[in-house]
Homo-oligomer: 169 residues x 2
Amino acid sequence: MVPGMGDHVDKDLIAEAKRNWDRRGWDASTAMAAATSITRAHQIVLARINQGLAPFGLTFSRYEALVLISLSRQGALPMGKIGERLQVHPTSVTNTINRLDSDGLVTKEAHPTDGRATLATITTKGREVVDDATAAMGAIRFGLSDIDDATAHQITDTLGVLRSAAGDF
Amino acid sequence: MVPGMGDHVDKDLIAEAKRNWDRRGWDASTAMAAATSITRAHQIVLARINQGLAPFGLTFSRYEALVLISLSRQGALPMGKIGERLQVHPTSVTNTINRLDSDGLVTKEAHPTDGRATLATITTKGREVVDDATAAMGAIRFGLSDIDDATAHQITDTLGVLRSAAGDF
DNA sequence: AGAATTTACTAGGACATCCAACTAGTTTTA
DNA sequence: TAAAACTAGTTGGATGTCCTAGTAAATTCT
């Protein structure tokens, strides 16, 4: 599936790493395995999502921003609000929105009342693209088409414990 | 915890996004929530791990590579083997090892029997650093110190379903 | 043996993310 | 109201990841 980096493996490399860790009597092997699992899951899912979005000229981050804007009442959001909702750094928002802008999917406009703020407004083309992309994401179930809803729920719930402990909610 | 991008949120942004999704009758909201949760969990854990490794001049990817080499019998591994084990692209390995090399933690040497291959060999300094870093990781439990082992196990298991379905093992 | 194919790694480029520092506009304070 | 403090975004820089393409060496095939 991913060329050039050793496809099919057959054995669980994370479980093997954990055994190595335990064998040496090292601490936190359980946490290490969980952290590594999260990293790997992220890598797998992100790759699939980006692959599914490529035909629309989008990446996951750009897609997320575009959806967020499209769901707002005015079809426009201040940059800061976007970073807040997507939980990313302001500079990432600038980067993402600039690209959506140059692709003609949003426009950057001055905020009517706050001279410091910039509004990212979705364009007609942006709405078309995001609708098509959303349909595509539904079709591939965000890269999780090979696991069922019960498992997906479980992933959300279990990681919710982590997120909650980290202050996410 | 992460400055500049809207700290403390109070409400679960992912759950809220899922409700929005459902309200519009869009498909795959469960998968969307799971994918987003994975992304966010990855962001949280990676940030903590990197913060914990910073004092040693390491990042998670460089740390992973260094550990892998340190655990090998010879204290040396071909570049390709590293990418295979860590499941990353060959160019990422080159990047990672080059940095470890310039930091004096590994050396790149010609493979004794295969003229194409390059061996990354850990140095004495590399062993010292990786040992210290591993102790630090144990102390912060790879960024998961605020969840218990049972939850960590559950994360590994649940994501294991995903990884297995994706052909990881 | 010699040609064709495969394998190992690197160079250059596209993206995404974060941090530090800077500009400009807004709000608070004295 | 003028100065101080804060907020919104951007620029420049460092990392990491992947892809495409290209070089060199090993293996396979005829």
